[in-house]
Symmetry: D2
Subunit: 144 residues, 4 copies
């Protein structure tokens, strides 16, 4: 396999792009959704967990995990190909593995394929400071 | 096939259960998540769409569609077996088919299997007043 | 929703196309994979079950069910848009619901979306003569 | 995370178990389906590709990839918990990423969760000698 190209967008550029184009991401709380690192075909994101993300019993809700995994895949694609507002999720599969702790959620995403029309990636979600996955997702984006 | 049993919980009982046990559902907006109908192994729900559910371009966000589909599957299970707080989603697959209109979102759910340990169902999501699906989901819940 | 167009290919034309272009379908046994009906955005197929499709305990194997569901989705697409050899499966999700009987397997497929680049459909699999699904699948094909 | 326990079954024991209990695996060709390695929560398998696995254009068929991924997940579970004939696949999601070469197919499987009732794992499929995945699968088995 040829080595993947380095990403075109930096952590700071990605964070700015998200804030400008997706104001509703601010609903997660001011500064709650953070791009922490990008690399060739990979990224790491963090969601600062607040009350609005919790379910009874103090565990992070499923839709919150879906949201973070979906955004992480989008960010990994943007990082690699540059700002593309019109990429849209076409399918998403998520397995919930363990109850997340009521702590920040970390997403590690890697792109498995970056074609002309489709990008596919998977995402591991972990509670901060733990290595066991709380959820694993695989998704596809259609590229414009 | 034997006919499925009628549901054990009414629309009103389901709505009350959701409000009491899942206060964070109120985040979708006061009275935004409505159980509209239940039947044997089926239910229909509505999400009143507000600004917080929209993406740039005026379309309903993916996490919003995931949320509604996930809750609809949970409600279809509750309706059939009675109030069970501890049922948890184990896997979920969703295909996004068309851009939803910025209108209420309707979910039609049917249970495909209701076993002792696992329940499986699928969910069709439509913009109000249209028959074309905007998304289709399949999910599994583990039963306590 | 506008009514879908009628299919472009007949049952006989589809059966001939499969036999000519996919000789390995013959591995399922001579005449084992049958197109039974086509309609607007739908098709029904049958797999005649032989010893090679069974698992210990006399149940149809998972890969056999996957094969039938995948072919049914392909046939529903071909029926609608005409013979297109190069359509390829990009993703597939299947839930196994009940042990199939050691009898013929029936697939009922409907297309949920038929776009320019992607087609999405779902498939219900039943043992012949029963209405309860043994498996439910959702898949995506990329169109050339 | 605590370290996973070492596997209970060896490569040789797994190969013998498959041959005795799943004679239809022999349909893939004599000795075609090989357990190559097991580790804590992981295994690697090989499918020797023959004519019966190929599609027009000399590429490995989708059902063949599904079969190998499904068996690899089963073997990873068996390796870890010992011979359990009655584990059954409950759901499976597979993304097809690139055309496989007409060469042996390698599966690298890891278990993401091994609970009392459910096991979840993912599988990377590669053509022999290449690091780029041709397909990626995630599946769930119900344990007896």
């Amino acid at each position: 396999m040829t080595h993947p190209a380095p990403p075109l967008m930096s952590v700071a550029a990605l964070q700015t792009f998200l804030a400008q184009r997706f104001p509703q991401i601010g609903q997660q709380g001011e500064g709650a959704l953070l791009v922490e690192a990008v690399g060739p075909m990979t990224c790491r994101m963090r969601l600062k967990i607040g009350d609005q993300h919790l379910r009874p019993g103090g565990t992070v809700s499923g839709p919150t995990m879906f949201l973070l995994a979906d955004v992480a895949l989008y960010v990994a694609i943007l990082a690699q190909i540059g700002p593309v507002e019109l990429a849209v999720t076409t399918s998403f599969n998520i397995n919930f593995l363990r109850r997340p702790a009521p702590r920040d959620l970390i997403a590690e995403c890697r792109l498995l394929k970056l074609g002309r029309k489709l990008a596919v990636g998977d995402v591991a979600l972990m509670s901060e400071g733990e290595s066991a996955m709380v959820a694993h997702a695989t998704g596809t984006y259609a590229l414009p």
